[in-house]
Amino acid sequence: MQEVKKRLLTGNKAMAEGIRQEMENNEEVFVLGEDIGAYGGIFGSTEGLLEEFGPERIMDTPISETALIGAAVGAATEGMRPIAELMFVDFFGVAMDQIYNQMAKIPYMSGGNVKVPMVLMTAVGGGYNDAAQHSQTLYATFGHMPGMKVVAPTTPYDLKGMMISAIRDDNPVVFMFHKTLQGLGWMEQLDTSQGHVPEEAYTVPLGKANIVKEGSDMTIVGMQMTTHYGMQAVKELEEQGVDAELIDLRSIVPLDKETILNSLKKTGRIMIVDEDYKSFGVSAEIAAIVAEEGLFDLEAPVKRLALPDVPIPYSRPMEQFIIPTADKIVKAALELRDQ
């Protein structure tokens, strides 16, 4: 057997490499945000970029999210391709007007005459006891409001490829990266946060889900950490005689209905696993799509596993209780099989 040479990178390095290659190819690309210069981004999204491009293109900003995101909007409407970093997605509240009234709506309000080709990258996710103001994913909050593409890649390969696609996209793209999947030395170490990443620039399309594992008994849809836990769960389920198909959503907007509905057609059962709040969320949206367009493929009611509708608690036992982990996915999947 021929050995395939793998080039292993962590999530953050893959993402930063995507930014670096686009910056090398296009002088109109620049990055601005808090602690993205000498620090390299609190979650490593710009690691090593200041050294290569200098402070003119890797711009540390004051703690002024309205100004920095608004400035990215202004530069983007002039045709540049800024990448603004919102350190934690939870901080969106400080600057939401610039995000959803300005960035997301200008293309539409201008009848398509003004483009906003920017990327708003932001760290999401909990599980490490950072409490209610630093642990959310908020996939649905952004997905709900029209005018932004919203992506949430899981693997290093997708982080790089989707970052390059996001930068090249003429629309505003909210690029959510999960802290725990960045492969940072000071967080929990997960296999999923390291992976093969080709050296050359490549793209992974926005709006296309990925079937991580094929199966025939049920469909499990996850994104980021729930995909990671899903991978553990499908292995465990295999041992228990359940052949589950696992879909990594990768993109919230556009949502890849086709991949989900085709999978359901094959399996007849579906469960959505989400690290975001349950009500009015991604799991609800997919359940609604299934009800509208795949009802007759269902052999059992749709199952949803998501955060109960509470802010994220600090204390470990309470936080672990609300997060959908591999054990909970297995348990819910067995219930779904028996329904």
Binding site: E34, D35, G37, A38, Y39, I42, D60, T61, P62, I63, S64, E65, T66, A67, D90, F91, G93, V94, G127, Y128, N129, D130, A131, A132, Q133, H134, G185, W186, M187, E188, Q189, P308, D309, V310, P311, P313, Y314, S315, R316, P317, M318, E319, Q320, F321, I322
Partner: protein
């Protein structure tokens, strides 16, 4: 400057208490995080922002505050909380994530709430400023002479909430005192790279209010200007800004590699340590004896040790308690 012996001792007690508390927490935080550091592991998980070195900012003003005065604090809140008289046992239990904590384990170290002493804090930069404005408004509406102190870092002075709140406080003549703790860094970004003016007390001019600057983390100077600001607030003479040049001995959070910081900076700052300088000064220049201070230190250690023991001995909340308290 007139200052009573009682005040001098109170300030030393709290300087020492904060230092002892934070030094201990620095140790406890590393339990379960060695040899491999994982932020979510150990006795106290999650982000940890310690205030070691910044004691004068909290102590110099809190000595003038009463139980009914309001304090809002940011993500680095322990010195403010201790100086305001937040229940030490329940605060520590909260930081440990225990059921006996101030918030039954729901808040953690960035989200401490003790309504008994009108203390709150938030993990969002600049978020406490409008709350202080509102609390001061409530005091004014009720005809009370309490004041509201909003502590912020120098980085927060570039948030919209800072400017909007100052304008409102000035417009409505509210008893708000903003204490800007200039510890030179917003996480990694040096102040000079983030702020267009040399110090934030200058921004007081833009709102027609009082501005003070305290150099060199000086506790006595902080005491002096805070006294004026609090008295003005109580008399209905409007808001003030005090910027204090203070010292962050540790990283932004524990685990911060601090590669952005000059190598000897912390050593130089620690050489100007206010806990020591203040201790020596009051023995030399005032009627406070070494024995008295040793007695205070012993009591403080007992109190703080007891708080940590209480936190350790307390139970974790039941996991299902996560579902409670969304609505009251």
């Amino acid at each position: 400057m007139s200052i009573s012996n009682e005040e001098l001792r109170w300030m030393y007690e709290h300087m020492y208490k904060i230092r002892y508390y934070e030094d201990k927490l620095e140790e406890v935080y590393m339990e379960g995080k060695q040899p491999v550091f994982n932020i979510g592991a150990g006795t106290v998980p999650g982000e940890m922002h310690l205030s070691t070195g910044q004691e004068p900012a909290a102590v110099g003003i809190s000595v003038h505050l009463r139980q009914d005065d309001i304090v809002t604090s940011p993500h680095r809140p322990h010195h403010h909380a201790i100086a305001k008289g937040v229940d030490l046992k329940r605060m520590t239990a909260e930081i440990f994530g225990k059921k006996t904590g101030l918030s039954k384990g729901k808040g953690g170290h960035m989200h401490l709430f003790d309504p008994d002493v009108h203390f709150s804090c938030s993990g969002i930069v600049g978020a406490g400023m409008p709350h202080a404005v509102g609390a001061a408004l409530a005091a004014k509406k009720r005809g009370k002479d309490s004041v509201a102190v909003a502590y912020i870092g120098e980085g927060a002075a570039n948030q919209g909430s800072f400017h909007e709140s100052l304008n409102l406080a000035a417009l409505w003549d509210l008893p708000v005192i903003v204490v800007v703790e200039n510890n030179k860094y917003g996480i990694s970004v040096p102040r000079d790279n983030s702020t267009a003016v040399p110090s934030n007390d200058l921004r007081a001019g833009a709102y027609g209010i009082e501005g003070h600057y305290v150099e060199g983390n000086n506790l006595m100077e902080m005491y002096r200007v805070s006294k004026q600001a609090v008295e003005r607030g109580r008399k209905g003479e409007g808001p003030s800004i005090i910027e204090i040049e203070t010292y962050r001995y540790l990283g932004h959070f524990q685990g911060d590699a601090e590669q952005y910081r000059p190598e000897d900076e912390v050593k130089e700052l620690r050489a100007k340590d206010q806990v020591n300088i203040y201790r020596d000064m009051i023995i030399k220049e005032y009627d406070v004896s070494e024995n008295e201070l040793e007695e205070i230190e012993g009591k403080v250690r007992e109190e703080v040790d007891a708080a940590y023991q209480f936190a350790r001995d307390s139970e974790y909340p039941d996991e299902s308690e996560a579902l409670e308290d969304v609505f009251v």
